[in-house]
C-alpha cells in the first residue's frame, strides 16, 4: 500500500497494531488491520497529527493468544509503544489486559464483545450487548418466534453472549431449542451433526456466535441441509460482509446480522471511508463493521492526540473520554462513564449482492451499557411488544 513507501520522520507518533494476519481468525482480523491502516494512511497524507506522522509498529500474533501477550509486551517494554490498536477475540483481549493495565498502556479494541468489563486502559469501540444483541433478539423473535437454537465457537465471547440471550429469552417467555459449541479450528464435518439436530428440533431461528472459518462451514451446511432462511434464518452478531464473501453470496442470502455499520449505508463519511479503503487495498469486498470500528478509532486517537500532543495514556484518556466524531456509521461518542463507544444499533438482512439491507435501526447512537444495568431501550421494547 502507499504508506509503506513513505519516509517517516524520526519524530513520528509510534502506535502498535496487533491484528492476526495468519491463523484461524486472520480473515476477520485482516479487515481490522486494513481499517486501521486506511485511517493511518489517510491521516498521514493529510499531514499527520501536529505535523508528525503516525508510524504503525506492526506485529502478527497469528491468532495465538500467547503471541498476543508476547507482542503486547514487546511493543510496550522493548519498543516503547503505549497506544495499541488490536485484538479481535475476547481471549486475546483478556490475555493482554493485565499487562496493558500494569504498564499503563491504552488498548483500542474495535470488536463487538460480550460486555461486563471496564478497564481504565481500554477504549472499547465495538458494540456492547445492549447495542446489538437486544436489537437482534427483538427483531427476530417478533418475526420468527421464540424457540432459539444457539451455536457458537467454544471460547469466552459466544458463551457469555448466549448467557445474555438466554436472559432475554427467559424475560420474554421463550425457549432454548438447543445449544452447541464448536472448536475455533473446527472442520466442516464437525458442523454436520449439529445441523441434523437443528433440523430435528426445528427452532424458530438459529443464533450463531460462530467465528472464523467455521462460519463458512455453518452457513454452507445450512444450505446443503435444504433449510430455508425465509422460515428459519441464522441470526448473528459476527457474520459480516467479509464472511459472506468467503461462504458465497447465495449461501448467505436472507440471514440476519446486527451491527452498528453495514457497507453501502451512504453518507459523506461512509463514502470517504470506502474510497480510502479501496485506495489502500484495491478492493471493498472485505469492508465490514470491524473495519469501520478499526478505522474510526484511529481518527478518535488522532483527534485527542492533536490536543495532548503526547501519547502518554494519562494525558490522552481524559481527552478521549467524552469525545465524539462523525464516523461512517453516523455520529458516535465515547461514553466517559464506561470507556465504551455510544454506537448505532442496526439489523441487516444479507442480500444477493453480498451486502446487507438494513431492516431496523435506532433513531440515534445508543448509549453503551456494558453491564446491562438498563438494557432495554424504549424502541426495542416497543418492537418486541
Amino acid at each position: 500500500m502507499a504508506m509503506d513507501q513513505r519516509t517517516l520522520t524520526p519524530d513520528a507518533w509510534r502506535v502498535g497494531v496487533l491484528f492476526s494476519r495468519t491463523g484461524c481468525l486472520s480473515a476477520i482480523e485482516e479487515t481490522q488491520f486494513r481499517g486501521t491502516m486506511t485511517a493511518i494512511d489517510q491521516i498521514n497524507r493529510a499531514g499527520g497529527v501536529n505535523g508528525r506522522e503516525l508510524l504503525p509498529v506492526i506485529h502478527d500474533p497469528a491468532s495465538d493468544v500467547g503471541l498476543f501477550r508476547a507482542y503486547a509486551y514487546s511493543l510496550m517494554v522493548e519498543e516503547g509503544v503505549q497506544t495499541i490498536f488490536g485484538c479481535y477475540s475476547s481471549s486475546s483481549r483478556k490475555a493482554i489486559l493485565p499487562l496493558i493495565e500494569r504498564l499503563n498502556g491504552l488498548l483500542w479494541y474495535p470488536t463487538l464483545y460480550e460486555g461486563f468489563e471496564y478497564s481504565p486502559n481500554v477504549i472499547y469501540t465495538g458494540s456492547s450487548p445492549n447495542q446489538n444483541s437486544v436489537a437482534l433478539f427483538n427483531y427476530l423473535t417478533r418475526r420468527f418466534g421464540k424457540r432459539i437454537y444457539f451455536i457458537g465457537s467454544d471460547y469466552i465471547y459466544p458463551h457469555e453472549t448466549n448467557r445474555i440471550m438466554r436472559m432475554l429469552l427467559t424475560r420474554h417467555g421463550g425457549e432454548v431449542a438447543g445449544e452447541a459449541y464448536v472448536s475455533l479450528n473446527c472442520r466442516r464435518q464437525d458442523i454436520l451433526p449439529i445441523m441434523r439436530h437443528i433440523r430435528d428440533t426445528s427452532p424458530s431461528f438459529i443464533f450463531s456466535t460462530v467465528v472464523g472459518e467455521a462460519t463458512t462451514f455453518l452457513y454452507q451446511a445450512f444450505s446443503d441441509a435444504g433449510l430455508d432462511a425465509r422460515t428459519m434464518p441464522i441470526a448473528s452478531l459476527t457474520t459480516t460482509e467479509a464472511e459472506i464473501q468467503a461462504m458465497g453470496l447465495d449461501v448467505a442470502e436472507g440471514h440476519f446480522t446486527a451491527g452498528p455499520y453495514f457497507k453501502g449505508m451512504g453518507g459523506t463519511c461512509e463514502e470517504t471511508f470506502v474510497e480510502e479503503y479501496v485506495r489502500c487495498f484495491g478492493e471493498e469486498d472485505s469492508i465490514n463493521m470491524c473495519a469501520e470500528a478499526a478505522y474510526f478509532q484511529v481518527h478518535l486517537l488522532a483527534k485527542a492526540l492533536a490536543v495532548t500532543n503526547s501519547l502518554d495514556t494519562d494525558l490522552l484518556r481524559p481527552v478521549v473520554l467524552g469525545s465524539s466524531m462523525e464516523a461512517p456509521q453516523g455520529r458516535i461518542s465515547v461514553n466517559p462513564t464506561s470507556n465504551h463507544a455510544n454506537l448505532w444499533s442496526r439489523v441487516g438482512r444479507a442480500n444477493q449482492a453480498g451486502g446487507f439491507d438494513i431492516v431496523h435501526q435506532s433513531h440515534s447512537e445508543v448509549d453503551a451499557d456494558p453491564f446491562l444495568i438498563c438494557p432495554f431501550s424504549r424502541e426495542t421494547d416497543e418492537e418486541a411488544a
Binding site: G80, N104, Y118, N121, C374, F376
Partner: protein
C-alpha cells in the same frame, strides 16, 4: 534519564521531606534537572503534601502517623529514603505503605529507578481503585433499580417489565439516569417509612 521519563517528571509536583545535607541536595538537584517542580520541606509537618504528585520522605520511626494521609489512602506516590548503614524496622516500613524505597547514598540512576517504580506503582494502584469504584457503582445501581422496581410493582400492582418502563420513562423526562432516579425513589421511601 530517558527523554520520555524526563518529560513525565517535568509535569510533576514533587515534595521532598528529607533532612538537609549533601545527599538531599543531590537528590533535589537531580530531580530539578527534569524541570519538575521540587519543594524541600523539613521537618515533615501534617498536611504539607496535599497537592503533590510524588512525596520523597526520609525514613523515621513513627513516619506513618506523620504522613499527610492515612496509610493505604495515599494521594501521591510515596518514596521513602532509607539511611545509609543504619538499622530500620521492616514492620514499620511496611506500615508506611511506600510505593518504593531509595537507599542512601543515592546516585542519579538509583534516584531515577526508585522514582519510576514509585510513580508506576502509585499510578497502577490508583487505576485499580478507579476500576473497583466503577464496579461498586454498577453493583449499587443494579441493586437500587431492583429495589425501585419492587416498590413500583407493589405500589401499582404491575409486573417487572412495566415497573422498569415507568422508571425509564420518568428518567428520560427528568433527564437523569435510571440509576439515579432509582436511588432517589428508594431514599424517599426509606425516609417516608422511617420509624
Amino acid at each position: 534519564m530517558t527523554h520520555s521519563f524526563e518529560q513525565r517528571l517535568s509535569r510533576l509536583s514533587i515534595v521532598v521531606f528529607c533532612e538537609p545535607g549533601p545527599g538531599t541536595a543531590e537528590i533535589i538537584r537531580h530531580l530539578q534537572r527534569s524541570r519538575a517542580t521540587v519543594r524541600n520541606n523539613w521537618p515533615l509537618q501534617e498536611g504539607m503534601a496535599a497537592d503533590a504528585d510524588l512525596v520523597i520522605c526520609d525514613y523515621a520511626a513513627g513516619l506513618a502517623k506523620r504522613l499527610p494521609w492515612p496509610p493505604g489512602e495515599a494521594e501521591a506516590a510515596l518514596l521513602v529514603v532509607l539511611p545509609a548503614g543504619a538499622q530500620y524496622d521492616l514492620a514499620e516500613l511496611q506500615g508506611i505503605c511506600a510505593d518504593a524505597v531509595l537507599h542512601r547514598p543515592a546516585s542519579a540512576q538509583t534516584i531515577d529507578t526508585a522514582v519510576m517504580l514509585a510513580l508506576d506503582h502509585a499510578s497502577y494502584v490508583k487505576r485499580l481503585k478507579a476500576r473497583i469504584a466503577r464496579m461498586e457503582e454498577n453493583l449499587r445501581a443494579v441493586r437500587s433499580i431492583e429495589r425501585a422496581k419492587q416498590l413500583l410493582m407493589s405500589l401499582h400492582k404491575i409486573n417487572d417489565a412495566r415497573a422498569f418502563q415507568m422508571l425509564r420513562d420518568l428518567a428520560m423526562q427528568k433527564r437523569v439516569t435510571v440509576a439515579s432516579l432509582a436511588d432517589g425513589l428508594v431514599d424517599s421511601v426509606d425516609l417516608l417509612t422511617y420509624k
